[in-house]
Symmetry: C2
Subunit: 203 residues, 2 copies
Amino acid sequence: MTSEQATGKRRAASETRQSILDAAAHMFREAGYAAVSLRGIAEAAHMKAGSVYYHFKSKEEIVLEVLNLGIERVHEAVQLSYEEVAANGSATQILAVCVKAHLNTLLAHSDYTSANVRIHGQVPENVQLEARVVRRKYENLWDDILQSMASRGGLNDAVDLKVFRLMLIGSLNATLEWFDPAHGDVTELADGYLEILTNGLME
Amino acid sequence: MTSEQATGKRRAASETRQSILDAAAHMFREAGYAAVSLRGIAEAAHMKAGSVYYHFKSKEEIVLEVLNLGIERVHEAVQLSYEEVAANGSATQILAVCVKAHLNTLLAHSDYTSANVRIHGQVPENVQLEARVVRRKYENLWDDILQSMASRGGLNDAVDLKVFRLMLIGSLNATLEWFDPAHGDVTELADGYLEILTNGLME
DNA sequence: AAATTATTCTAACTAACGTTAGACAATTAT
DNA sequence: ATAATTGTCTAACGTTAGTTAGAATAATTT
């Protein structure tokens, strides 16, 4: 008797909300923010455009939630993995675990994460401002992780950690453009990236 | 007496064409394909929407040219650099020179290259198909470069060259999202990336 | 000077957009 | 059963979109 399935009509409101977000994320990812119409989102969620406004008060509210869900899921997964390995892991192990958490979540929720990566620069400015707060938090998490790795020693002194973070997140997110988890193993992908990131191409 | 400045009215046609492309590239980059109107492009190029159709026969034709110019410029710069260093350079030197050529050109023509990276997935399918041909050519160039590096020996055997190429181009292109050549030195950026790519983060 | 050509503008077309108000139907609570 | 609530639909609003045809203007050629 939780108040989850409580009130509603054909579908519970929370279910409908979710399917609107799923449809929106998928379409935003593929076509961009402006190209996606509320009529299109509504159709994909099996309803009419006007009905969407019962669940969201504007298109901007929908896209903001899509953008933030994209990052938040990855953030939570990486943070959890980091907390598990932080106590006893080496720098290399920490990096490996966190990169795998990022890649797995990124590719598992690719509609949301890809929407974030692709259309962040295309949404109205106020949405961009709110979404940036959540982005910053994730960047800070990685700075903490790299700091904690550095404190364990063994890192290449010639590498600037801020540059490394930017390159790392950039290269991981770019996998969204070509890697399909249905046709390839994410763990193999992660191992391939980690070999380059930790040891480099030469020698 | 070349036929360059030959015929025309207020501006030579080729100049107007160029300023339409420049305006379009800039706006596509910032707002996405669908969000940019021909009226907006026309205004930025100091003309009215109808006049644009004297130079291009559709919005699709404009975006296709923007997309292809973005890659072609980078392709030419990297190919040129490669040809200069291929004869006597080591693998590390080849990589360094080509990465710098890519980054310099990418960031120098960032409206075109960024438009390409950001909106390639958002344009109509026929445009995407034509643009992909030019993309493939550039990917092939890098495969050749990496092959030629491998033939010189000294590469880390654990690194898959196809994965390396995907990670390399992905990470370099991602710099468009955060690096501003007006506030940072591109050569320093390239050196930072190269240190990670060649030697890795550890040890 | 007249005729031609090159470029731009105006004005309009149809279609689609985000959003809103209010009628309507289905569920739950009384 | 009735009333209240929850969710959806219809229909319309003003705006803007890509595109086109043809008039208008400026430069070039004859």
